[in-house]
Structures are given as structure tokens and as C-alpha cells.
Amino acid sequence: MSQKIIVDPITRIEGHLRVEVVVDDNNIVKEAYTGSTLWRGIETIVKGRDPRDAGFMTQRICGVCTFSHYKAGIVAVENALGITPPLNALLTRTLMNAALFLHDHIVHFYQLHALDWVDVVSALSADVKKASDLAFNYTPNPYATGADKLLEVQQRLKAFVDKGNLGPFANAYYGHSTYRFNPEQNLIALSHYLECLRIQRIIAQCMAIFGSKNPHPQSLTVGGVTCVMDLLSPSRMGEYMEKFKEVADFVNRAYYPDLVMAGKVYANEPSVLNDVGVANLYTFKEFQMGRDEWLFESGIIKNGDLSKVYEVEEDKITEEATHSWYADNEPLHPYDGKTNPNYTGLVDGESIDHHGKVAHTKNFDTKGKYSWIKAPRYEGEPMQVGPLANIVVNYAKGNQYVVPVVDTFLKETNLPLTAVFSTLGRTATRCLEAKIIADNTLRAFDNLVENLKVDESTCAPYVIDKNKEYKGRYMGHVPRGTLSHWCRIKNGVIENWQAVVPSTWNASPKDAKGVGGSYEQCLIGLKIADVKQPLEIIRKIHSYDPCIACAVHVMDAKGNNLSEYKVNVNL
């Protein structure tokens, strides 16, 4: 008899991403459905507004990808108006983008994904001297893994646990049979988990240096950047460089070795291997390093065939809504996209609760509509985006910055290239992407410094002709994959706006042909050890770094009696 398992919420905020799978008698996933239960709809709020304001709104879509959408909102308008910003502005954006990527990738691996791989409780029983020695197996110069340091980490964790407050460590599936690290390996990763909390602050400051304001930077403007005084200040520039180096050091001596460790240990864990999901890979060039040079290039790989990389043709992109809560089902190019909501809700059904019992629940209407995410397609096919796509496409193209890093990683872990097409591969390629950015960004920094010596311009002049119609787009690569924003401008205001965000490619519901996106496809065939603790599902979905829709920050204090803190209005 088949059973249904629902994991909701799988992203942190309630009601954002929900996964439903149907398993057979052997607990093998036969059907999978992933949907977002919150409407985004940025498209509707920018309509009729001054195009120069769009970026300031798009950056508020999300609390994590804020800079990605800010830059996209600005560049889409620049593209429409035919503006090429000065090189200084373009390189400054690269430096800010590098800060965003490194913040995002390290926080994702340690704070958001690590507990899927690392059994924190097990670290308490590690031998600190053995762990300290073990760290040298994965790098010649380990980071924060001296025996004294590891002992302190253990004591800190114990004090936290003894307080009865597991805080960030609560609710993982400790002791689950698919955790593979030994206690010493868990302790090494835990030490880096704590270090990451410190390092992420430093890289957030790197963003602030050129942001004019943080949180929510304001220095990008249609035409260029406004942080002229920061660019001309040797101390500000030096601050960026020093802070960036400190973070790059963490990437190379902690993050990278931890992935080498994971690559070796998890190479025998079937639930993280051979699950590429959608084998069509799509990435877009990003990180302008100089006048005509980008760190990563664009390309498309079809059906996992690395022997041919296709050029990206933007008119082949469509979005359809057969199974999405929108009125217009037909595939449309983003320039002509429609965003008319048609919410049909969930339906009554049954699923397994966390005690393993069948319970009545509200389920996806899998025959009908079940997600706020549209189904983006390229030539009618789903695509996988993200670090895996970016690294594999660039590797296949022979990118000089990517090939040696990938080859070295495979050699150090004894993994074949095909192992990259997996949950483990998605997690590892994110680290490799971070390493490549960490190792190369200061070349863009040097080019900026050199260029500033001969050219101080940071903004290009332009006019918006109210009698003219414009259309333009941003296409690029952001931490979760390929992002595009598409806009039309008419009568001097925004006429239409569509954002095709990375998670919509990966988390796409099924299309008219019944073909799902990468989240859904990678779950098919998965064997779940314990239906009450579907860690394998969570780990796979987390490997995409899911970021669905926008951040709604209602503090959830349910289950706690706060009535004594209610403010009496009459006082």
C-alpha cells in the first residue's frame, strides 16, 4: 500500500516550500510534488512606477538574495534604456556580488545544511586529540581544529545543551542511520560551524563598505554606482581587501577541507548519490573581472552530455502555469508574462504524521494546481540551475578558473566526475564555486584600483524618453542559480515586470506534459530509512539551497504563553 509523506515547511518560514511524496511498501519514493504556498508577485507592485525605483523594491523581495534582486532590478532597466555603466561601477558591483556569494554559500553550508550531514550530538563524544590529528587528512593547514580549540568547542556545546536550550541545534534527526561522519569528523565540522558565525559578519561588512547603507544597500543606481567617495578612499578599499582575505582564508582552510571530508565519507551513502534530478543544466555569465572578462560563462548542457555546451538563446525561455495557482496556463515568454492569481487551495486527504500514523491532512491537489511557482522551461524542457549547473557547464567549456579546481577536488576525494550529478555534488560544487570566487575576486579589485587611476567615472548619463517604449532584461548567475528580470517601459513608467528566479527553475511544479522540476525529479526512487524522520528528503532539497519567494518575518511564538506580556491598551 502506498503512503504519502508531507514535509512542510521545508524552508524556514511556514508555508513557503512544501514537499509531498508517495512511497511504496519498501519506502521508496514513487511520486513527488513540491510547491510553494506563498505568493510572491513582485510583478504587480512595480507596475506603473518609475523604472529607476524598481531595484529598490526588488531588493526587498527577499532577506537573503537582497543584493541579487537589487542588481537585477537595476541592470534590467539599464539594459532596456541601452545604458552601459562605467567600468568602475561594473567592477564595484562584482566586489559586492562576491561578498554576497561568499556570505550566502558559507552560511548555507554551515548554518542551514550542515545539520543534514553533521550529527552534533555525536561530536560531544569525540576525542579532541584524535580529531585534531584527523583534520590534517583533509588539508595541510587546518582551521580552528587544534586540540585546545576543539575542547573549548565541545565544552561550549555541552554548556548549551546542559542549559536545556538546544537553540539552533534543536530538531535535527540525531542518530539517524544516514549520518556518516564519526565523532571526530563531526567535531571538526562543528568547530567550523561556530567559526562561520564569526566569519559571516566580516563578509557582511564587505558588502556594507560599498553599500552606502546596510542593511539594504542603496549605492546601485540606474547608470552605475553612487559610492564614489568609498572607491576613492584608500582606507575603505584596504578594509575591503583585508576583510575579504580573511574570509577567503576560511573558505580555503575550513569550508573546502570539510567538503573533501564529506566527499570521502559520504561516497558510500546511497541516499546522496545518483540523484541529479533534471540533467539539463543552465547557467549565465557572472562576475565581470575586467573590460571583457567574466569569471563564469554562460551555457546549456542537455541530458547530462558534457561533450557539447549550447549557447543560451533567451527567446527559448517560457513560463507556464498548468499546475500553478495562476489563471493563464499557456507558456509565455517573460516579456509577455502574466501574473493573475487563481488560488484553488489544498484538498482533503491523508498522510503519515511524525508518529508514523495515518492522519487526515490537507494535501496538494496534484491533478490540478498546487503551487505559486510557475513552471519555467527552456525549449519546453525543465532545467536545473545553481552551483552544480554553473560549475559543470564551465568545466565542460574548459573554463581556466574552474577546471583545475574541479580536477583537484576529484583527485583529493577519489570521486569520479559522474559523482557530481548528485546531492553530494550539489553541495560540493557550491563550495567549489565559493573557492573560485574567493581565489579570484581580488583580481577584479586590482583592475578597479588600476582603472580608478585613469578614470573616476562611476555613473553613465541617460534620458528616459516618455514617448518611447523600451524592453530589457537582466540575466545572470546568483547564489542559487540563474536569475533573470524582464521589464517593459512605456510612457516613462514600468508596463510589465517578470522575475524568473533560480528556485522556480528547480522547484518547478509539473508542466502540461506532466514533467516536474529538479526537486521533484531527484526524489523519485529515493529509499527512506524511517518515514517518521525523512532526513533524506530534507537533505536533498536543502542541497539546492531553497529560497522560495520572499521573506515574511512574522515571529512565531506559538506554543508559548505570552499572555502576561500583552500590553494593556488602557494603561
Binding site: 513557503h16 542551514l112 537553540g167 542593511p215
Partner: protein, 177 residues
């Protein structure tokens, strides 16, 4: 000591932007003085972990936010210390969004979380893509304003009203600043 008032929320989701709008309103409408203490107002927007380096610089913090609590009604206001938050927040299957509460937990783990109070109201409309606030939340904001002023007065701050910006007016333009 350094005091921080941190407004949190998504300004494009109507009532959900309350924390940010109120933070800006208080900063614009009042002038605060204290012989020894300083007071800053920061729009934290939708960010979380990226705020921790900023928060760490302060000794005491009041977070303005929206809240969803048991037995609560729209427009009700709560003011409580961080310690009163649930010790075991359910984030099973947690993944992406590190939100404010987790940020505070991470800072507690690092060991430099300022003394923190949370001042929050229960929103009505968490409607995507709107700057229009509900009348309940506008009323709640004035309760929060009074609560905060009383709190700061107890801490020895004196204040004077220097302007009269309305919450709804600020909500319509807050994306620009």
C-alpha cells in the same frame, strides 16, 4: 550604554512592514537625549544574519516586529524579553530563511547578544505587494510607540516631539530609504 531600536519586516507585505515603518516614524518624530546612553534606529528590513555584526555593537536592543502568538488577536501588542521566547522553536526541516529569532539564537551561541526586548503586534494583512496598512495595525503602532517611549523614559532618556510623520505616509515611500 548603546541602545538600538531595530525594525524588522517586509515593507512590501502591508502590515508585515510594521516594525520598519514604526522604527522610521519614531526616528523622524522624536529627538532623544541621555547623559550617558546613545540610541540608534535601524531598518533591518528582511535581513537577519547579516544584521548580527551590527547588533553586536550594542548593549541593549528593542526589536520591533510582527508576531504570531497563541490566543492572540489582530492588533494586540506584546512586549517581552528575549528570554520569554520558546526555548524550543519548531524548525523541523528548517532550511533556508534564517529569520530574526534564529539570528538571536546564533548570537546567543556566539555569546554577544545584547539584552533584548521584543515589542511586536499581531498583523492583519500580510498581503503580498501592498503598502497599505490596516487600521488595526495603525492603532497597534501607537500602542507600541507609547510602550517604547515609556520604556526609554524609564531608562533615563528624555525625548521631545520634533515632527509629525504619519505611519501610512512613511509606509508608501519606505522602499526609497
Amino acid at each position: 550604554m548603546k541602545f538600538l531600536v531595530l525594525g524588522i519586516g517586509n515593507i512590501m507585505f502591508a502590515d508585515e512592514g510594521l516594525g520598519v515603518h514604526l522604527c522610521k516614524q519614531l526616528e523622524k518624530n522624536y529627538k532623544f537625549t541621555h547623559q550617558n546612553h546613545s540610541l540608534s534606529f535601524i531598518d533591518g528590513g528582511t535581513l537577519a544574519l547579516q544584521l548580527s555584526y551590527i547588533i553586536a555593537e550594542y548593549d541593549e536592543m528593542i526589536v520591533l516586529d510582527c508576531i504570531d502568538a497563541d490566543d492572540s488577536e489582530v492588533g494586540e501588542v506584546f512586549f517581552f524579553p528575549y528570554e520569554a521566547m520558546p526555548k524550543r522553536v519548531n524548525w523541523s526541516g528548517s532550511a533556508h530563511e534564517v529569520e530574526m529569532l534564529q539570528t538571536l539564537q546564533y548570537m546567543e551561541l556566539v555569546g554577544d547578544l545584547p539584552r533584548t526586548q521584543i515589542l511586536a503586534a499581531v498583523p492583519r494583512r500580510i498581503k503580498p505587494m501592498s503598502f497599505e496598512l490596516s487600521s488595526e495595525i495603525i492603532r497597534a503602532a501607537s500602542v507600541m510607540e507609547k510602550t517604547l517611549l515609556d520604556f526609554l523614559a524609564k531608562k533615563g532618556f528624555s525625548y521631545e516631539k520634533v515632527a509629525d510623520f504619519a505611519l501610512q505616509d512613511l509606509a508608501r515611500v519606505s522602499f526609497k530609504s
